[in-house]
Symmetry: C2
Subunit: 489 residues, 2 copies
């Protein structure tokens, strides 16, 4: 275990230690029942005072993440009995082992009957037939694509087609300002490795996309998060925060935000852009969802209003076209994009050419427009069904936000609930979801969960939501009765 502390950070050391340990516990890297190193060992390992270590352990204990057993040591908390399994030993090679809310992704890979965790679209709703036709065409007329390296920046034909597509989105860019990436995730990572270093401040919405937290943390950044209201990120809170510190980057998902589904209003988008210009900091506008609207189109992209080059726009195509091809792209002004291309060069020397050529005809032929229309119509039905079912079956005290786009439903349970505990109950009902705690970079709220209604069939959605509501009801009842003796929190 190697914990990297940032001694010049504004975040107190005890909180940094707390966070490092809680990340490892929440990610499952430290299994339940694992014995933690002693205060003395941690003091020596981290070169901090015993008081600091104790304070960090107090915070973990308050969160019920650890339990101290007199004369035996400190153990990762397990509901019920504490079982002594194994000690955390230092790896002989002393590797860093920074870990990782995105291991929450593993929830997506669990073999369960109904997967509400994976934020993806069912194959029959995506334009899979059109893409298969494109595969067939390549095999027949252009097999050399298999034997060629693509350009590091991305296939020029694809960048040209994307540039035309973006005109409809009110973003005027040349193919030279586009960098093709291996999904949105790589886009976030390339921005972080180009512009974020230890001690830099990154601002996100709270809650935010879990995997982005990991990327910024892995660069040694301090993440400050800003709450949202019905207009999205609260710019008043952001402004107050920037009186104290100057962020290097503001990360936002303005349209159908992940995980909450909220939309940033036009007014807030303008305010955010103005603030970024004043502070001379970058905005990373992550936009996987804006085409998937159900009621009305979201406000214009922040990038479409950016004349000073402060906004990097990131688009992933996995949600609307093809996760099997995993293509995304970044748009930035040339001086910024050159740094991103350098990072891409180091990272992998460019996306595979095959996948870029597979999706190319969908954009070149402008088929994308009617295909998206179909997708919206199909997903709107799912969304409406999901909301109807929740209204019918959700136990008292459960609230949700009706998403006006995207595929995510953000559910809130009563404050004393912990959706990581609920997950055990849900798995007994053969279903899974994303515990909301993965989405908080700082003070964690435990009583939320995210479900995606897009990946399951309509039939599964029906059964699954009824089961989920029943799991929530049993969990809340059990938690309520336990509360009588030992309060949960």
């Amino acid at each position: 275990m190697r914990i990297e502390l940032n001694r010049s950070s504004q975040v107190p050391l005890a909180r940094q230690i707390y966070r490092a340990l809680s990340d490892r516990i929440l990610s499952g890297y430290f299994a339940k029942g694992t014995r933690l190193p002693s205060v003395r060992q941690l003091t020596r390992m981290l070169q901090v005072s015993p008081v600091t270590v104790s304070h960090a352990l107090d915070l973990l204990e308050a969160d019920k993440l650890i339990t101290r057993v007199q004369g035996k040591g400190t153990f990762v908390y397990e509901a019920g009995e504490v079982e002594v399994k194994k000690e955390v030993s230092n790896s002989p090679l002393q590797f860093p082992d920074y870990l990782h809310r995105s291991q929450a992704k593993h929830y997506s890979e669990k073999p369960v009957a109904i997967n509400f965790s994976l934020s993806a679209v069912a194959a029959d709703l995506l334009p899979t037939r059109e893409l298969a036709e494109s595969l067939r065409h390549l095999a027949q007329y252009y097999p050399e694509v298999l034997a060629q390296y693509g350009e590091i920046q991305g296939d020029l034909e694809l960048r040209q087609a994307l540039s035309s597509y973006l005109m409809n989105e009110q973003i005027a860019v040349s193919p030279q300002e586009i960098l093709v990436t291996n999904g949105s995730q790589q886009g976030i990572d390339l921005v972080a490795r180009s512009f974020i270093g230890p001690g830099d401040v990154v601002v996100t919405e709270e809650p935010t996309y879990a995997a982005a937290i990991d990327v910024f943390r892995s660069r040694g950044a301090t993440i400050l998060s800003v709450p949202m209201d019905e207009e999205g990120m609260r710019i008043d809170r952001l402004t107050a925060l920037t009186d104290e510190v100057t962020p290097k980057l503001i990360y936002t998902v303005p349209s159908f935000q992940s995980p909450t589904g909220k939309v940033m209003s036009l007014r807030r988008r303008k305010q955010l852009l103005g603030l970024a210009e004043d502070l001379n900091c970058l905005v990373l506008e992550d936009d996987p969802w804006s085409e998937i609207y159900y009621d009305e189109t979201p406000p214009p992209h922040i990038k479409s209003m950016d004349h000073s080059g402060h906004v990097i726009y990131l688009k992933g195509l996995s949600k609307m076209l093809s996760p099997g091809c995993r293509i995304g792209f970044l748009i930035a002004s040339v001086s910024i994009l050159n740094r991103l291309i350098t990072a891409k060069t180091n990272a992998d020397l460019g996306n595979p050419l095959l996948n870029q050529k597979v999706i190319l005809p969908i954009f070149q032929s402008r088929q994308i427009t009617p295909l998206l229309k179909q997708l919206r119509a199909a997903l709107k039905q799912r969304r409406d069904l999901a909301i109807k079912l929740l209204k019918q079956h959700a136990p008292q005290g459960v609230r949700w936000i009706i998403p006006r786009g995207g595929f995510n439903l953000w559910l809130t349970l009563p404050p004393q609930a912990n959706t990581i505990e609920l997950l055990d109950e849900a798995e007994r009902h053969h279903l899974t979801f994303l515990p909301g705690s993965a989405c908080y970079p700082n003070e964690v709220e435990w009583n939320h969960l995210r479900i995606s209604f897009s990946q399951v069939s309509e039939e599964q959605l029906r059964t699954g939501l009824v089961e989920l509501c029943s799991a929530i009801a049993s969990y809340l009842a059990a938690a309520g009765s336990r509360k009588g003796t030992t309060p949960l929190f």
Copy 2:
């Protein structure tokens, strides 16, 4: 321009500054004729003494990378007249702009008649027909692959097939010990971002793979390079070096090393492994070429002899199968692989599934074995032709290593030659190659070049090598005559 200095490094600051500036000049990031910041500006910018800056500039001047013009400033050197083009201005946003020998890759993208720079295989020699058949099959029977995310670690079926394939290579690993990557480049990058941080020492062969230098540098590592002889990396020199410092990682390409084509002997492989065990450091065994042997199979992989888990094995499939799919993989013991999977999660959440399913049947059916046999036979003819042509046409004073595998030919010109200058002459002859200087992490040798004989047609190989020899002859003659008045170096 933001230069990051490592003040705790054993490398003197002046040399770090020299290296940072020479990287920018050699990569073309600072164009010829660009004015550098003044000594006073650099002193302030880098927080070092004027003496240190002057010493760094002396080193650059000695290398003929810059020239000082009285009363005007310091300029990037240009053969012939110095033209004042533009000042290097600080970007308003102060981004890091660490740059990049791998921009040498851009040589590969130049539109020339004959490309000897790109280390790839011509489409007609790769099993493109078999892969196209696989594409057709997926389109017909398994189009859902386009709509599915793959596992982060890589498709399980592919990992199982690779595990069987590796048994033939005397590497016994389970699918759980394999991580699929986006080409070898990502493999190097994932290892670097998992295990290398500022101030860590990485050892490489000298010369080495240019893009690896960039990756390790971008992590803030100090690269120490060890010369080779006919048995590969000189372990006596490595041992002497490790008396002084303990490397975190030793990066080696033991079979048909890039760029030289050299092979590390069995004895040296064992010595290297023993040393890594003694030092408790990691070995990254990069193996893009071992299947492409012409005379005899290379000695066993270092990984096949590793019982202590110190070796990470990296295989790229682009050279032998399909650059259009860009798939590589890492093999490591589980505790190390877990860290690499974490890095892969942050980097891109996994390779696209499509490409993995495209190459799968070639391994599952064991077609790979006869296909590789065909590839070796075809490339051996090219190699033999290339050597024959060089013998006939190379000007006096040009030497080369006959590669016993791989596709690279390493040519050495007389010591006073500079192959970056030769490149201009070569481009007038409509051909390009990789200047050897890109491959030296420390003291640069300027008089080498690498050509790849695998990507051009047999006809192009004939014409191209005759033209290259003629370009070398003209360049050496011109350099010799200039030498009479102003010595080149």
